[in-house]
Symmetry: C2
């Protein structure tokens, strides 16, 4: 028997499509209802057989025990507002947004009585987007962070159910406050993406080096950055607009440290450079030991050429 009777997923991109596939493959839900604002995406979701696809958000969420908002963060408020009148009493609402305080502010006000909201964020993805990019294994051994708002009995029960749901999809679960989540993610995810977007866009319109030279010689380092810079631009626009303070804070620190590095290069301070590079090197080992990346050289990708 599946863990939940029926889930509804609003927004069928990489994450929504992967959840739909995983929920059925691993027995997390008996049935999966889907809705997306885009008729084209709904058509793809039907063609891919991801679940029961509805043309109205109300029909999609009406009978669901768990409703997951998997749209870009900026679209969640409106989606929740449209879904609210149709939610069944006792339903749990959650989301998968990469920022949490802004989502709490967007979804919270539209919550009908008898419906519990537990915000959450699966730290999983690829550089691909859209329903075709989804696959059931996406969440295996990845973290799901729940950021419960209150601690009423109903919220505690809902949090437990949600954690069990994500564990069934293969994830490991963790809990923190929305505030803490946004600070941690600014460091481990938002800043890295920002830096990657910046260097790739910069390289595209340099005067000194052509774009085709950059592409041709990219295996010497640059190509690593193109992967995360290929992530969905709408999703990332919304992340930066909605986690502004934490991102600007850590970006300020990054720029400060980069200026110090720049100065060490200008003044030929070899020992300072060596110490910093040596320190950075050690973290790779920790990431691998924590099971967060492959130990194979070059991510193992060169075997495929």
């Amino acid at each position: 028997m599946a863990l939940l009777q029926r889930i509804a997923i609003v927004g069928v991109g990489l994450i929504g499509a992967s959840m739909a596939r995983a929920a059925r493959e691993y027995g997390a839900a008996q049935s999966v209802a889907l809705y997306d604002l885009s008729p084209g995406v709904r058509d793809r979701a039907r063609a891919l057989g991801l679940g029961e696809v509805f043309d109205e958000i109300g029909a999609a969420v009406a009978d669901a025990d768990l409703v997951v908002f998997a749209t870009p963060v900026g679209a969640m408020g409106a989606a929740m507002q449209a879904a609210a009148p149709w939610l069944k009493p006792g339903a749990i609402v959650t989301d998968v947004g990469s920022v949490k305080q802004a989502v709490v502010a967007a979804i919270g006000p539209h919550l009908p009585p008898g419906v519990v909201f537990v915000p959450g964020h699966p730290l999983a993805g690829t550089e691909h987007s859209g329903p075709d990019a989804g696959f059931a294994q996406l969440f295996q051994n990845r973290w799901f962070i729940a950021t419960p708002i209150g601690d009423s009995r109903a919220e505690q029960d809902a949090s437990q159910k949600l954690a069990a749901f994500w564990q069934t999809l293969g994830a490991r679960t963790e809990t923190m406050t929305p505030e803490r989540h946004d600070v941690v993610l600014a460091v481990v995810s938002h800043l890295p993406h920002l830096i990657a977007f910046n260097i790739v866009a910069m390289a595209e319109d340099l005067e000194t080096v052509t774009e085709s030279e950059v592409v041709k010689y990219s295996a010497s380092g640059f190509r690593d950055f193109t992967r995360i810079a290929a992530s969905d631009p709408t999703m990332w626009r919304d992340v930066f607009l909605n986690n502004r303070d934490a991102v600007l804070e850590v970006l300020g620190r990054f720029s400060e440290d980069l200026s110090a590095l720049q100065r060490a290069i200008r003044w030929g301070e070899g020992d300072k450079l060596y110490d910093l590079f040596d320190r950075a090197r050690r973290m790779r080992r920790e990431v691998i030991d924590a099971g967060q990346d492959t130990a194979a050289p070059n991510f193992g990708r060169d075997q495929e050429r």
Copy 2:
């Protein structure tokens, strides 16, 4: 019959060890002589059976038709000075340094008459270093850039032989001036490494987020940067000390663009963010189409977990 009778490799790290393996596996040299300043590295090279290992640089290079300096860039001048009296007339000297103008300045003055120097740089590597990290396939389908200094008949002949040598190891060959090389590599390799070193070192001593949190949640973007930040610190110190002007130039441009991005976030300019992210995304496709990276999501690495 092998392409060359005998080659000597000075410096047995990732590149030197890979060249030694590849030269014999693909028939680029009949015999391989090796020397490294470190007795410990010489012992490893012997244990790994990489070639004939010598305890004196003179004995290693004495009979070689091609002498390859594969040390960190900062050590090349001294290595060449020590090797110079032993080089056989007609020998070709080359190197694999990541910067070229500084290597020309370091090696050039010690060149004995009758020996031709053709500087070069194979754009290949992994985040691992040392003789144990070497493997014969490292140069397959990677670029080798020769940066010949003059165009005498002897230099043209030597360049042709060197290109044939690298093609035998599996590389594609290209030619440019040392100046051009240093500008192009500052963009495609030196800046990406600098940025990666900076963000990884920064994350290690933040006050707001612990190192173990960074490691734990690193799969959300950060882990990509830890790979190139794990590269050899001595090698990279020497790169930045020896390609200072080109690196500072492109770093200035990076910081300028990052400030504009920071401002767009502060003022909530969503359209500007979207346009930039969308532009960055397109370059990924070009890198894959050029055969410079795998198209598999997440570099294909998650299949291994």
